[in-house]
Amino acid sequence: MTFEPKILGFLCNWCSYAGADLAGVSRIQYPPNIRVIRVMCSGRVDPSFIADAFIHGIDGVLVLGCHLGDCHYLTGNYEAEIKMNALNKLLQLINFSERMRLDWVSASEGNRFAQIVSEFTNQIQKLGTSPINNKEKNSEIRDNLEAVKNVLEDSRLRGLIARQRELVNDGNVYGEQISAEKFENLIDEVIQNEFIRQKIIVKIKSKGKSVPTIANEIGVKASEVLEHIVVLRSRGLVDVDEINEEIPTFISIMGG
Amino acid sequence: MTKRPAYSNLVKTMREGKFLFTGELEPRKMTDLSSILHSAEKMKKTGKITAANVTDGPQGDAYTCSMVPSYLVQEKVGLEAIWQMTVRDRNRIALFGDILGGAILGLKNLLALTGDHSALGDNKNARPVYDLDSTQLIDLVSKMVDDGTDLEGNEIEGDKIEINVGCAANPNSNPRGPEILKVGRKVRLGADFIQTQTAFDIDDAKDFLKELEQFNVPVLLGLFPLKNYGIASYFDEYIPGVSVPKDLLSALKKAKKEYKEDKKKRNEVIDKINIEFFEPFIMEIKKTTKAAGIHCMAVHYERLFEPLLKNF
């Protein structure tokens, strides 16, 4: 029997949700796979919700907000754009980015809504179910998604994302404006590092491993892993497990 | 110092200047003294042994006393005994009583010794007496024999007792100074003869005897023939100040190894080794020193006397 993807949709109350209602009122049909959560504004959608959804086996997530400029809260959708952009970067690292899509639907665009939903459902259909759903070998993807979730919950990244617009447009505390592209590099660098660090923590949660073993498990140069281990130790998240012969092993210590 | 008359045959012979030998009998923890008498027989038979010491608790061990075996050796075997007495076990009253007893029994020679400390013996926790020291014992004997009184001057009834008293000297002591002065004291107090502990080094023995000449009292040099390698190594290792010459030691060891099974052959070889070492030794002492003789401590090794002393 054909695969029926489970799609999750976050619709902002003022535009996309109203657009969906209009599609209903005008009886425009679209596939039934989508389950909708109404949020007051697309800006409200916390990227870690989406990571959480994927962990629970959702095959595709759709986030719809008002067209830029129409937002009932003026800048909500701009924030959403920044957040989803960061999330997208992370999902690319674990090639999950096609399973998420951000788009704008105004209250009057009933059929645009239906058309987006059916387009997205077919796209996910073609993609097939999320790898997390096949029981045997989903440990790798589970670790990755857990890592993504942790990164998204990390205060450093959230802080930067929250201040990105203000710092790029209005300028920082010294009154200088940070170029968008410089900020983008900073975000990339933070995402890159934090993702590797979370992967390390997840890999050594149960059993202590040595730096070379971690390195080839997560495919990162051993010297880089060591630098990350140093940072994680200074934050009290990782510590030495034991030293046999000349190979020290590290293990994550919960709760710092 | 007045020269006491020679009551004992030993002292008489010494004063005649005849080079003589004395043996040593060690009554152990035993009631049957026949082995002691048997050894005394053997010594008598050689005709070379003038007298034999009878030990009194050697190494501080609790053995049969010296007086009774001495008396039996003199009575039953006719060999004059040198009756040893230590100050370790008896206070001055007991010493006085024993000396009188021994004299009455006809014992003529008494060797006054301090005696090894009870802590070294087989009754370590005994309380040592040491009321007198060996010098003071000689003083007691002198008063008894010469003055006929005890230490406090109380008269002894009956005719005077006739005993010659000797003392010990240690050729291996270093520093040697105190040893010489001590012997001097004992001679001043009336010692008639001196018997030295075992010596193995000929030159050492010779110059010790040289130093004792100043007291012009007969000196018997102590020698200790080695019955087997066991005794030899024990002596070398455990009796401090005494070291058995290396070649003698290795010869005995070789003998023990080669003649492991044949006991008789082994004893012969050992006797030969002993004779080869001690005979020239005695010859040289006799020839080059004023020693009055040799105190040969062949304890339980009496069979050696015959071959060893045959040309003396």
């Binding site: - | 370790r88 400390h117 070294l120 270093n174 105190p178």
Partner: protein, 231 residues
Amino acid sequence: MIITQQKDIEEIYDMIKSYSKILIVGCDGCCQPPRSINEAKVLAQMLELKARSEGKELKWKAITVLRQCDDRIAATTVRPFIEHYDAIVSLSCGLGVVMMNKVFENILTYPAQNSLFGGAENNAENYFAEYCETCGECLLGVTGGVCPMAGCAKNLSNGPCGGTVGGKCEVGGYTHDCAWVKIWDRLRKFNRLDLFNKYRPPRNYRKWSSPRFAEINKTYTNEEETMEEEK
């Protein structure tokens, strides 16, 4: 000074097990190592902990006395505390314990120390050695200051015996110096070997056997005094 060594705690505790209130008395006198109020408190604390571990409650008070072996001093210092306590534990040497029992008939004083010997302190090598036997007839004048009674295992007056090797005494496996060899060495240094050679007659052991007494500031009765004049 009297050298003492503390008994094992179990032994001390066994002595006072049956009492519930004890007085612990230190002594500031000659005993070494010092046994004053600090040591008294430490011992008391240990006894209290021991009692507690045996399921009993022990009350104590720690005081110290200038010299427990002096009856007047002991009496005046300790008497005020006696009636509140069932027994006394004394940290002084044997002399103190005997005096306390003598002065306070109706309370028992238990010894916390084993008195070893009258000794002197060699601070550099921090050990104590017995240099005087209180034999009553001092020979130190003729032995160059080395006591043969305390130093020689056989207390010889005209040493050395045959058992000395390399200047060491046979007793104790040739570890301690032979007193007489030391005497000879020291007299030789001041060339007074004449003293070494002198013969010392048998000793008067009455002076060295207890019980011994010495009368101090004797008060003459007038009869004795007249008797003296006639003699």
